[in-house]
Symmetry: C2
Subunit: 402 residues, 2 copies
Amino acid sequence: MLIVKKFGGSSVADKDRIFHVAERCAEEYEKGNQVVVVLSAMGKTTDGLLAKAHEIDPNPPKRELDMLLVTGEQVSVSLMAMAFHVLGVPAVSLNASQVAMRTTSAYGSAKLKRIDTERIRNELDSRRIVIITGFQGVNKYDDMTTLGRGGSDTTAVALAAALHADACEIYTDVEGVYTADPRIVPNARKLKEVSYDEMLELASLGAKVLHNRSVEMAKKYGVNLVVLSSLNRAEGTVVKEGAKMERMLISGVAADKNTARISVIGVKNEPGIAFKIFNLLARNHINVDIIIQSVGREDRKDISFTVARTDLQEAMTLLNENQSVTTAREITCEEGVAKVSIIGAGMLSNPGVAAKMFEALYSANVNIKMIATSEIRITVLIDEADANRAVRTVHDAFDLAD
Amino acid sequence: MLIVKKFGGSSVADKDRIFHVAERCAEEYEKGNQVVVVLSAMGKTTDGLLAKAHEIDPNPPKRELDMLLVTGEQVSVSLMAMAFHVLGVPAVSLNASQVAMRTTSAYGSAKLKRIDTERIRNELDSRRIVIITGFQGVNKYDDMTTLGRGGSDTTAVALAAALHADACEIYTDVEGVYTADPRIVPNARKLKEVSYDEMLELASLGAKVLHNRSVEMAKKYGVNLVVLSSLNRAEGTVVKEGAKMERMLISGVAADKNTARISVIGVKNEPGIAFKIFNLLARNHINVDIIIQSVGREDRKDISFTVARTDLQEAMTLLNENQSVTTAREITCEEGVAKVSIIGAGMLSNPGVAAKMFEALYSANVNIKMIATSEIRITVLIDEADANRAVRTVHDAFDLAD
């Protein structure tokens, strides 16, 4: 078996944790398996490097920032190789250049394009554990790039796909994927299995267990993902195609409080206006979520949508500066909102799921501001203050507890 | 003009010093020159990384140690690029992989083999300052290597040679090369010029201005070296072929206190014994300096030599464990010794230089334990306690003061 194991920054934050990870990987190796380990930078290293950069340059060139940040994972992998050396297990560390982890050129948010697996295969065939820097790559200019937040998950999945690994294990500080955030819903249940699509909806809706792009890539290449705890031996959650949903209607409830609503009011009712508005935002790297369009008065319409709260200021500035493009009469926004969603392949064949959710929210006296649905998800926008109560109410209504 | 400028770790230790270096390089750039900057790791970074490694593994694999250490210079160069960005000067940082700084495979003490200058040339042609990681390279396996202590000087000279630079400026915390260590001889004089060979002898004899391998390489490729201060604008010392010695007999006096004497007494007087002894030490990476052999009694001879004090313990252990190889009857050593040397091309054509040095030492009541000479150097081994006095006395005798 070939297994890719990914550990985040907190799992390698100090000497003890590094040895803890090394011992766990050594066990796998000693069963006769081939082991690839993907690591993030230790603890708060990346934040420390960012602080150093900003001390010099409040607005550092992204290329140079990536050149700086990639040193973080290189420190992790070399120290991990030393820990394996102490344990007497042959191991070798490799950075993104050495495994030709090719990406696009978008510094800070590069996308993986291809991996040259020859070196890794050779090292594995020599019975070495291969430790690879997560989060980073090289572009066509041979310059260092980073994949953006959570990029190490993507590195691990991409390696698992390229190496046709038998499993890709993502070690986190939770035991797996739950029907809801256990801090909000104490009796939330851990899922044994979840499908890629459900995981994608969960990830994009605030269940921060896996990076979204890593799930997309796992789905595309059929990589068997396992989410499990780096702290204990509890069984994790398997993410795979056609995961049995244990005859559950829905697999989980998620809340996302990092959200804000923007309404562009009274735009001209002519073709291309929506495109122009969202293109303006996309060109400035602002992601837009739930979109609702309603017809207003006098051949004018209103368009509302949500953005990450951190993008709100920039989005408002952009929209206000481009009134000639948007043709809007007024632009309003609201910060104190949250998205609450239910996710589940089961709802496809079960009419009345939405009604059941809305009923639960009504009975809990939660006002719904916007609604958006996909094939396996229903999302409502509500007051942030109601979010936790809404999650608990909906979780109960669908009988998701242990 | 194409100028390579090398700055050591203390010159980039913090934000202020980074900007100081950037401003100085920007001035050169604004004169219309092409500028390549070679940097070491910031301040005590390398020591910090070594400490991290040793916390995990008291005896880390050298390959992994190099993988760890090279991150230090990468941090320096990316931060320096940000400083240029703040100053509005186009600049780009490159690491050893990116400039294909090919070395031998000897981790921790790799030797440079060749540099691919295409990327550097392209960046210079685009009117960018190019900032390159010193001290490091990549071997034929694409693994990271380091060049050993002082390796950044060698990187700078190698780049100057490969790029046919007009000058290679080494910035240090002294103003240039002196006739003696100014801390010992307050009226020591700064040399305007010195030849490669003299610089080599000075460097190997404790004048820690330049790394020896960098001078050897400068000599081989005819690189014009300039040693100057990173702190002020004083004129430095030019190291070049056929430097005018200003009709000076000798160019300087150097002392090296990191030395110890070993005597291998009563070895068999047969061919190959000396080879066997020094081969034993060389295989264990112990450098041997002054060697003296004298005939003893009963067809036996004594061999004395000096080693770095840090190697003494290991050398003694090796020699004692291999008595069958050395055939020695006794092995003795002495720690409290120092080498004092005079260096100068002038002594080639001036008989009586040695006599003058010995006379000066005699008049100062300094006892000479061993003597060794090369074409441009005379070295004596004396008690360490006498070293500073000996340097001052000899400096006076040859009238080297300002």
